[in-house]
């Protein structure tokens, strides 16, 4: 009886942690990716004022999510995202369109990569 209750408790713990971590990462990643798409579009249109406002929204959201992400993913991934955001800020101020677009795409890739890593997939197991 004791063993079965331990098994059930452990399975519940794993399922709960999986759900919480997946929802945390996926929810945040979707929001940041959407905002990055908006930022990308505004840069394409040369609308830098709107792009700046997009950027500050992303930073605000990222700083909120970062703390929970740090408990779930390797800190190296978080550092990469921080690095990209710093680069984007500088290119926005300089209004360097080409570099800005490439850095936004790279940041999108990093966010997507984190999302892919958290999912329960065959390639993540092996």
């Amino acid at each position: 009886m004791k063993v079965w209750s331990t098994v059930v408790c452990f399975v519940i713990l794993i399922v709960m942690l999986t759900l919480i971590s997946t929802l945390l990462i996926l929810g945040a990643a979707d929001k940041i990716e959407n905002d990055l798409s908006g930022l990308y579009k505004n840069v394409v249109k040369n609308n830098y004022n709107l792009a700046k406002s997009n950027y500050f929204d992303i930073v605000k959201k990222w700083n909120k999510y970062k703390k929970s992400w740090a408990m779930l993913i390797e800190h190296q991934e978080i550092d990469k995202i921080d690095e990209e955001l710093t680069k984007i800020k500088e290119y926005l101020l300089e209004q360097d369109r080409t570099l800005l677009l490439s850095e936004i795409s790279l940041l999108k890739f990093y966010i997507r990569h984190v999302r892919e890593m958290i999912l329960f997939k065959i390639e993540n197991i092996f």
Binding site: T6, I14, L72, H75
Partner: protein, 228 residues
Amino acid sequence: MVITIFFRTLILYVLVVLVMRLMGKRQMGELQPFELVITIMISELAAVPMQNTGVPLINGIIPILTLLFLQTLITFGSLKSDFIKKLVCGSPTILIAKGRILEDALKKTQYSLNDLMEQLRIKGFFNIHDIEYAILETDGDISVIPKSQKRYVTPADLGIPTKYEGIPISIIVDGKIKEESLKCANLTLEQVLTEIKKRGIEDIQHVFFACIDPEGNWFVQKKEGKGK
């Protein structure tokens, strides 16, 4: 950074100690192969997030808890099913039967004759003639059954009647009375006080150690520099 590592170490140490305790006493004694694997893995898993602050603590905690879960499950399975026990622990192998060394068993277990002789010497048997059976247990230890003429003599062999021997019960340890032991020995606090006063000690706090054996003999030692 330093304080982070300090706290991570603290958390993981407490977790590993807790896990080892939950795994039971066997984990600290002779290990079965699967237990040895789990113990090695746990120590490795705890070490990585301890020193690398870039790795989330959960990356160490979840695998450790998973191993505890697996060990609990395997141990339970071994208790309930002989098949599972045989599968994960193997089965004992007889290396010497009726005084004869079994060559096939030595080959099968990859146990050399020198290893066998060494283990027998460690067990206190220097002459192969003295041994009836030697069994290689699943935890790698060897059990030896000597020939009846070569085993140690017992009171039963000599026909000597013996009295019941229990174990002494610790009543006071480092100035603190153990309530459970009092119940176990059917003693009252007054009886204990009487006993220590007989030995010139006024207060329980002045007693370093006191125990009583099944025959009712007391051993009392007072703390250094306390009482008279």
